[in-house]
């Protein structure tokens, strides 16, 4: 077997029994791997109407054919399940070293079924698979869990994917963390794992990944590495990390501030890539096989002591990785906090407690707006820590409270949508399909409007990142013209990209899809072309859409909050602009070959080979 291992591991958590299955050749070919293949299994095996927390919900970890090879940034794995935050199919991607380790153990996919009767963790060492008691790990943070497992199993090269207290407590935006600071972050995959009573999956793999045509593979890999080496995108990622994006979005009036009430943040320069590099950066850190190394390992500044300190003295010297652009925005600009130490600390708490900093920050921002409106009052809060915009102590303390569902944290843990509804102000929820927006204001980047509204897993920036054309002069960022067409095509590209196991960032660092289609072909022995990849992307996107339609989603869910559609910013470069979703959405449906209710037509499904699934 080349590229793929061709095997999947299926574990019934209720009984601890596991078995290895062959993955059908046509499924591998038609979905490549990772996201596509896991989507297909989920669609095939599960009723989309089940509750995300029900034992019937399946949790799938999936690698791609390039995961574990030396192709640049071949580190990724996907977690596919029905999301706790959204109720839609979710596809959360993570890097680090865990995905390749699963591949080295000999599996493309890991499918987890049912729920364990008591807290457990799964131990995989090549063929050896055992569900073990995790009573002693339950309640522990992510860092400690990983260290404990490595020590007690006595395997230094062990890789661990785990949930923190947030996942155990079913915080709806809990992550699955691996290698301490890498997260399959969005849509609450960690809460699903927590509902299954599964604390961690510890993996050690000693096998190899073979490629079909080694010479062609290496030639294509080195062509890609050469293209990336001096590319400005790669250099910027390496030097400044993802937080360099703050300057760009702020300049376009597209950096959502104080729960999308403003489009520019006055303290942006405190949080940007330069600030992190110059004042906090210890070193760059790479995921497996990564030639970019955008990861930031940061130290807290001397001023951090003035904030409430929690009890992690061992890790105190180095805060760990982050913040990334999204985390710096959500916990910083979106809550109005311009203090890098507070953001670092809250971000690091999110990592240790196992929560998505995007949804955490955005939910805090929504709560702060509720506090502004008087819907949340001081008597619901902890004494002396108002949940007000610009308050650095609030983001630290209430992040922790959310993970443990203490006090108001119990409401925050339900996400911004449920929070807004609970306090009678659903309009404070800034998101789509129940998932909070990431760090791009669609009033600054019009295309993000249709990208957010149509994304299958709820609002997401990784499916069609329109600033790629809207910030570079290729398209006007303020008109809806041409955006739907671009977004449809880009969604196909990123979906195929996710299926291969390479990191999405290679696309912005000089290694777009075109450069690794031949790598995938040489690895798998399947003569893939770019057209094949786009078709696979479209097939997978439609399959996810079918899942969501069967789960009960309709055209009405392809929506944006009123604030984006009706209330323009008053100042800045994006002043006066609102999102014209009503113009973009019909074009989007037409481009997709869907009817105007957003349903794939029978002709489209037949064209994609999905006719039998509708």
């Amino acid at each position: 077997m080349y590229g793929w291992t061709g095997k999947l591991l299926r574990v019934d958590l209720a009984t601890g029994k596991s078995r290895v299955e062959d993955i059908p050749e046509d499924w591998r070919r038609d979905y490549i791997g990772g996201r596509g293949l896991a989507d297909r299994y989920l669609y095939e095996e599960m009723d989309p109407k089940v509750d995300p927390f029900a034992p019937e919900n399946k949790l799938i970890f999936a690698t791609g054919p390039l995961t574990g090879t030396c192709a640049p940034c071949g580190a990724r794995y996907m977690v596919v399940t029905k999301g706790a935050l959204t109720g839609a199919i979710t596809t959360s991607n993570s890097g680090g070293h865990w995905g390749p380790e699963l591949k080295f153990a000999g599996y493309d996919l890991l499918i987890l079924e049912n729920a364990a009767p008591r807290p457990s963790y799964l131990f995989i060492y090549d063929d050896y698979v055992e569900l073990r008691d995790a009573g002693h790990l339950w309640g522990k943070g992510v860092f400690e869990t990983e260290d404990t497992l490595r020590e007690e199993l006595g395997i230094p090269a062990l890789r661990v994917a785990t949930i923190g207290p947030a996942g155990e407590n079913r915080v709806r935006f809990a992550c699955i963390m691996n290698d301490k600071h890498r997260a399959a972050g969005r849509s609450g995959v960690g809460a699903v794992m927590g509902a299954k009573n599964l604390k961690a999956v510890a993996v050690r793999g000693t096998r190899g990944v073979q490629v079909a045509d080694p010479e062609a593979f290496m030639r294509a890999v080195w062509a890609m590495r050469a293209a990336m080496q001096d590319h400005p995108g790669r250099k910027s990622f390496a030097e400044l990390g993802t937080a360099a994006t703050i300057d760009m979005t702020n300049a376009f009036g597209g950096l959502p501030t104080r729960n999308f009430q403003q489009g520019q943040f006055e303290h942006a320069e405190n949080l940007n890539g330069n600030a992190i590099r110059d004042t906090r950066l210890v070193t760059n850190k790479a995921c497996f096989a990564c030639t970019i190394a955008c990861g930031r390992v940061c130290r807290l500044g001397d001023g951090a002591g003035k904030y409430l300190v929690n009890t992690h003295p061992r890790n105190w010297k180095i805060a760990g990785e982050g913040p990334e652009y999204e985390g710096a925005w959500a916990l910083g600009a979106d809550t109005g906090v311009g203090d890098l130490d507070a953001v670092l600390k809250a971000n690091w708490l999110c990592n240790d407690l196992g929560m998505d900093p995007i949804s955490m920050g955005a939910t805090l921002a929504a709560a702060m707006e509720l506090y502004q409106k008087g819907a949340i009052t001081d008597d619901m809060l902890e004494q002396g820590i108002p949940l007000a915009f610009d308050n650095p102590e609030a983001i630290i303390r209430y992040t922790e409270a959310t993970a443990y569902r203490e006090g108001i944290g119990d409401e925050l843990a339900e996400g911004a949508k449920r929070l807004g509804e609970r306090f009678g102000h659903p309009e404070v929820f800034m998101g789509s399909k129940g998932q909070e927006f990431p760090a791009y204001d669609p009033r600054g980047f019009q295309g993000m409007g249709v990208a957010y509204a149509t994304c299958n897993r709820g609002a997401c920036h990784l499916r069609a990142w329109t600033p790629a054309v809207e910030s570079t002069g290729q398209m006007d960022p303020h008109t809806p013209k041409g955006k739907s067409e671009w977004v449809v095509n880009e969604q196909h590209r990123t979906t195929a990209h996710d299926a291969t196991g390479l990191c999405l960032f290679v696309g912005a660092a000089g290694g777009p899809l075109e450069t690794f289609v031949p790598i995938t072909a040489a690895a798998t022995g399947v003569p893939y072309t770019l057209e094949d990849f786009l078709k696979i992307g479209e097939r997978t996107w439609n399959l996810e859409r079918l899942f969501n339609l069967r789960a009960g989603f309709t055209r009405a869910d392809d929506s944006l909050p009123k604030r984006l559609l009706e209330e323009p910013h008053k100042t800045g470069p994006s002043a006066g602009v609102v999102v014209h979703l009503d113009e973009m959405l019909p074009v989007y449906y037409r481009c997709r070959g869907w009817d105007q209710e957003g349903r794939p037509t029978p002709e489209k499904l037949a064209e994609l080979g999905l006719a039998s699934l509708a």
């Binding site: 030396c70 070293h97 096998r207 190899g208 073979q210 070193t283 850190k285 990564c290 190394a293 390992v297």
Partner: protein, 162 residues
């Protein structure tokens, strides 16, 4: 003139490309578990360092081997294992002060870095030049500088009030 591997931990990002390259040379697959260079990750110190055989002048693995299975590559000075002679006694793994002698799980025989016959794959694969293959006499300079900094940090930390 002899060349040697120089490792600059400050440049390492922990990406494992060297392990992939070495595993590839050993097995023709991407198999880091078979790599003869290992990346050590010290999370607490935010430090990553690839580590492999230093090709000691006075090589204890060679000295201790009861069947003379370890010899010297005349072209580049690398100490190499002749697996046909190795009897799998593991003495070399005990003798090596640096932990860079390995035994292979498939045949229980010794394996170590042989500098790929003078063109080390790990050097080619490293994206940040953290592993270099340089003339031996130029290698000390970097080490002196690094050694001084480590020493200073040690003094600083040990003299800090508790």
């Amino acid at each position: 003139m002899t060349q040697m591997l120089v490792i600059v931990p400050d440049r390492c990002t922990g990406c494992m490309q060297c392990e992939l390259a070495c595993g590839w040379v050993q097995t023709g697959q991407f198999q880091p578990s078979q790599s003869l260079i290992r990346v050590n990750i010290f999370d607490e110190e935010a430090s990553y360092a690839p580590y492999t055989c230093l090709q000691c002048d006075e090589a204890w693995c060679m000295t201790v081997c009861p069947v003379n299975a370890i010899g010297v590559d005349a072209a580049n000075g690398a100490k190499v294992v002749d697996q046909r002679l190795c009897i799998g006694c593991h003495l070399c793994t005990i003798a090596c002060p640096f932990g860079t002698m390995f035994t292979l799980p498939q045949n229980d025989k010794a394996a170590k870095c042989n500098l790929c016959g003078g063109q080390p794959a790990c050097v080619v694969s490293c994206p940040t030049d953290a592993i270099q293959y340089r003339e031996a006499e130029q290698c000390g300079e970097w080490f002196r500088d690094w050694g001084r900094r480590v020493h200073e940090r040690y003094l600083e930390e040990t003299s800090a009030p508790a």
